[in-house]
């Protein structure tokens, strides 16, 4: 008779809570978790955690070597902000198991080659930096690293390749030097000098026409917006002048020096940069965004200078943290604030600067704009006593420098500031900005305030905005977003079409059909009588005027009411707006009715494009028409234009995809 265990009977159909054997995937998860978590806040020191983890992994090597290799390669590629923690770990493993160290280096080189093949250049930089820090951990021999860098720098000698290709290899070399410059220079100073002089001559001859396009401010004061390689070169030159003494980077491997220096090192295999191909897409060049310096926080720790290598490392790491945790705002904020060195650097200033650097990045931020707003709010929640003040200081500085700020960046600043204020009861010291009241309203500062107030109103309501600003600011306050109905007043009864408008109003209120509407509109005379081309419905601006004015007025209550109206009378719209002039005139009338409510104009234009009442070309013609010239520099115009272009792009992509799919189907048909 079989002896059945109690648990088999009682747990029938239920998942076992007690595992009899661990699944391989669970082990991998546990290993991954152990490795990823090392370096996080802990009761033990980082050194003892690393020591412990090295012991655990060493014991697991016989059974789980390939998994451990994979995980370590992945953290090297994806967690660059913890670079030195993991190079130390690899160093300890290499000291205990030389073969493993060799296999890891080989795996890293394979991974590097693959990254370069599939255009993953950011990840590739992290791998190169990891390899270079492995020199500090006695895993890789310095001369072989120098040899790799020699191959990198020689890419600048290639002919007929995009400059951005040479730029990347140069960046990969230079940006590793904060970590390994000292060691490489000590072992191979002649070779390094040669590399540095080749670097200098490359940087002198490369083109920098992209710089004005990417600068957030056109002014060089107070902080020049430097080209990223130029800035990095200044930082490396200063590092060299300081005899490669770098004091910011946390180097856990220093504590293990006695163990690590006993380890045998590996030589990097000769690395030939893969050739340039048609499919190669290199990263775009950048301009370094700076808004703070040591004078901005006189009471706190000194902010590293713009040409210090510390500044470079801090910024790189903070950007990496955002890249790792952008989906998890609380984690992201916590990780940013727990960046090591908090008492030696004005961390809040660095964080705010790095966030604005991303928000204002041209052409586009790395992540969706609203992420930065919410991230800053999370940071304010975690540091309520200090971060809001830094943010206020930053806002003030950005305001002061509006005159030279790129317009796209001003737009982002407006969107961020208004959304931010809406989370803090719109509290702001507006009086501090009364200087803008004496300026011409089209100047950047008053314009900025006007646009901010308009956006604040969109997130609340008109009276709220009137209440939050001082009375002197009324000249900058947004208009009350009410609809303007030209046939509404008895005094306008002499206007052509007035009686038809009245008729139409009654008919629509009585749920008239499209046909009834058409018949009412038949009575509207056509001021363009002479242009009748005899092909049926001709362009009749008065008909459009009467119909659109009346309908929009009746549906003015909310967006939904207006959208319903557009849907219900879609046929009438399509007929009246059949010609290009018709489409243009519809847009003009929409503007006349809703010029106090730019948000309504934007959503109506969007809906009319999507329901094909107007097309993108008509919107473009309308925006660039002389009637709208006076609003040309208002941001709502550009909001509409950009939205229209985006819709057009999406449409083109969609059709292109459908075309490709149809071609593929046809090809498959022919094969049969």
């Amino acid at each position: 008779m079989s002896r059945r265990r109690h648990s088999d009977d009682s747990d029938a159909g239920q998942p076992h809570k007690r595992r009899r054997t661990s699944e391989p995937s669970e082990i991998e998860e546990r290993l991954e978790s152990l490795i990823c978590r090392v370096g996080e806040k802990s009761n033990s020191s980082l050194e003892s955690n690393l020591e412990g983890l090295a012991g655990v992994l060493e014991a697991d090597l016989p059974n789980y070597k390939s998994k451990i290799l994979r995980i370590l390669c992945t953290v090297a590629r994806l967690l660059p902000e913890k670079l030195t923690v993991y190079t130390t770990l690899v160093g300890l493993l290499n000291a205990r198991n030389y073969n493993f160290g060799g296999e890891f280096v080989e795996a890293m080189i394979r991974q590097l080659k693959e990254c370069l093949k599939v255009n993953m250049y950011n990840e590739a930089v992290h791998l190169v930096r990891f390899l270079s820090d492995l020199v500090n951990c006695h895993v890789i021999a310095a001369p072989s690293m120098v040899a790799m860098f020699e191959n990198f720098v020689s890419v600048t000698q290639e002919e007929d390749v995009p400059q951005v290709r040479c730029d990347w290899y140069m960046f990969a070399f230079l940006s590793s030097l904060p970590w390994v410059g000292k060691e490489l220079y000590e072992k191979k100073d002649a070779e390094m000098d040669r590399l540095l002089s080749q670097t200098e001559s490359y940087l002198k001859r490369r083109q920098k026409i992209h710089v004005p396009m990417l600068q957030v401010w056109t002014a060089d004061k107070p902080h020049p917006q430097e080209e990223y390689l130029d800035c990095l070169w200044s930082q490396i030159q200063k590092l060299k002048k300081d005899r490669w003494q770098e004091r910011h980077i946390l180097r856990p491997y220093l504590a293990f020096d006695s163990v690590l220096c006993e380890a045998l090192q590996h030589n990097l295999p000769p690395f030939t940069p893969p050739p340039h191909t048609e499919d190669s897409v290199y990263p775009m060049p950048r301009v370094i965004f700076r808004m703070f310096d040591y004078t901005d926080d006189p009471e706190g720790p000194v902010m590293p200078g713009s040409h210090s290598v510390e500044r470079f490392v801090i910024e790189e790491n903070l950007h990496c943290i955002i890249k790792s945790h952008w989906k998890e705002r609380k984690t992201c904020a916590a990780q940013l604030l727990s960046y090591p060195g908090n008492n030696k650097i004005p961390l809040n200033y660095h964080i705010v600067e790095v966030i604005f650097a991303e928000l204002f990045q041209l052409p586009s931020p790395p992540h969706i704009e609203v992420m930065y707003t919410t991230l800053l709010i999370e940071l304010c929640k975690l540091q309520p006593g200090s971060l809001p003040q830094v943010l206020a200081q930053a806002t003030e500085m950005l305001y002061m420098r509006l005159d030279t700020m790129n317009t796209t960046c001003v737009d982002r600043f407006i969107n961020w500031f208004s959304h931010h204020l809406s989370n803090f009861q719109f509290r702001w010291s507006w009086e501090d900005w009364s200087d803008c009241l004496t300026q011409d309203l089209e100047k950047p500062k008053p314009k900025f305030v006007r646009e901010v107030l308009e956006k604040c109103m969109r997130l609340s309501y008109h009276q709220r905005i009137i209440d939050i600003v001082p009375a002197s600011f009324s000249v900058l306050s947004p208009a009350n977003p009410v609809c303007i109905y030209k046939y509404g007043d008895e005094s306008n009864r002499s206007l052509p079409g007035y009686t038809v408008a009245l008729c139409l109003t009654i008919a629509i209120k009585n749920k008239a059909s499209n046909d009834e509407i058409f018949s009412i509109l038949k009575d509207v005379p056509n001021p363009n009588q002479d242009d009748d081309d005899g092909e049926g419905f001709t362009f009749n601006p008065l008909k459009i005027e009467v119909f659109v004015q009346t309908l929009l007025h009746l549906a003015a209550k909310s967006f939904s009411h207006s959208f319903s109206a557009l849907a219900k009378f879609h046929e009438v719209f399509k007929t009246l707006a059949e010609s290009d002039e018709g489409k243009l005139h519809v847009l003009r009338v929409v503007y006349e009715v809703w010029k106090n409510h730019p948000q309504m104009i934007a959503v109506l234009v969007d809906k009319m494009i999507r329901t094909q009442i107007v097309d993108c070309a008509a919107v473009a013609n309308w925006i660039f028409s002389s009637e709208l010239a006076h609003d040309f520099t208002r941001f709502y115009i550009w909001e509409i234009l950009h939205s229209t272009i985006r819709k057009m792009n999406k449409h083109v992509l969609k059709i292109h995809r459908e075309l490709e799919e149809t071609k593929a189907r046809l090809a498959r048909q022919h094969k049969r």
């Binding site: 991954e32 978790s33 990823c36 994979r70 995980i71 390669c73 992945t74 590629r77 994806l78 967690l79 795996a107 394979r110 991974q111 693959e114 990254c115 599939v118 255009n119 993953m120 250049y121 950011n122 990840e123 930089v125 990347w168 897409v281 990263p283 775009m284 950048r286 950007h319 890249k323 790792s324 945790h325 989906k327 998890e328 705002r329 984690t331 990045q361 790395p366 969706i368 704009e369 609203v370 992420m371 707003t373 919410t374 969107n415 959304h419 809406s422 989370n423 009861q425 969109r458 997130l459 609340s460 309501y461 909310s558 967006f559 939904s560 959208f563 948000q599 309504m600 969007d606 985006r646």
Partner: protein, 168 residues
């Protein structure tokens, strides 16, 4: 940051991705399931996982469609906003549905707009299986939302005291 054409978490043959980097807790399904949903739990979850529609709660009764459009428009193009109404009064009763054209835009709303303020109130968003006629009405006995039937606190933006308190 240098622009990369490949996201950092693309799985590679020699590498992969890390579960800590995959974490996307704000965009996950919550524990809430609409009890009035017609269909199996499985169907409901399937719809929730591909939905482009969000339920938005804790709105003020005075919050307008325009404000909602402005705020939620920050994560992408909005297809439709449907205001939640008191079943009896047919006035706003503090919730709405926001439908996007693309799921990714709804996910970003869950990540960055959920838990922030609208009309000075912390609003809450959650995945919705999709609007159906009738779902725009409150399910409380008095016509508003259930939560406003029984709550004890005074909330000026939501009609003052809860309905049962008001009736005392």
């Amino acid at each position: 940051r240098l622009a990369s054409t490949g996201p950092g978490s693309v799985a590679m043959s020699s590498g992969g991705t890390l579960s800590i980097l995959r974490s996307d807790s704000y965009a996950e399904l919550s524990q809430y399931r609409d009890q009035h949903f017609r269909g199996t739990r499985y169907d409901q979850e399937r719809l929730l996982r591909k939905s482009c529609t969000l339920y938005v709660g804790n709105l003020s009764f005075y919050t307008t469609e325009e404000q909602i459009h402005e705020l939620f428009g920050k994560s992408g193009d909005i297809k439709k906003v449907i205001m939640g109404l008191d079943k009896v009064k047919k006035t706003a009763c503090g919730f709405c549905f926001v439908e996007y054209y693309a799921r990714g835009d709804a996910e970003n709303a869950m990540r960055y707009i959920n838990g922030t303020r609208l009309d000075d109130r912390i609003i809450r968003t959650d995945w919705d299986a999709g609007f159906k006629e009738g779902r725009q009405y409150g399910r409380g006995r008095s016509g508003g939302q259930v939560r406003d039937e029984y709550r004890q606190d005074y909330d000026a933006g939501r009609g003052g005291y809860g309905k049962t308190v008001q009736c005392q």
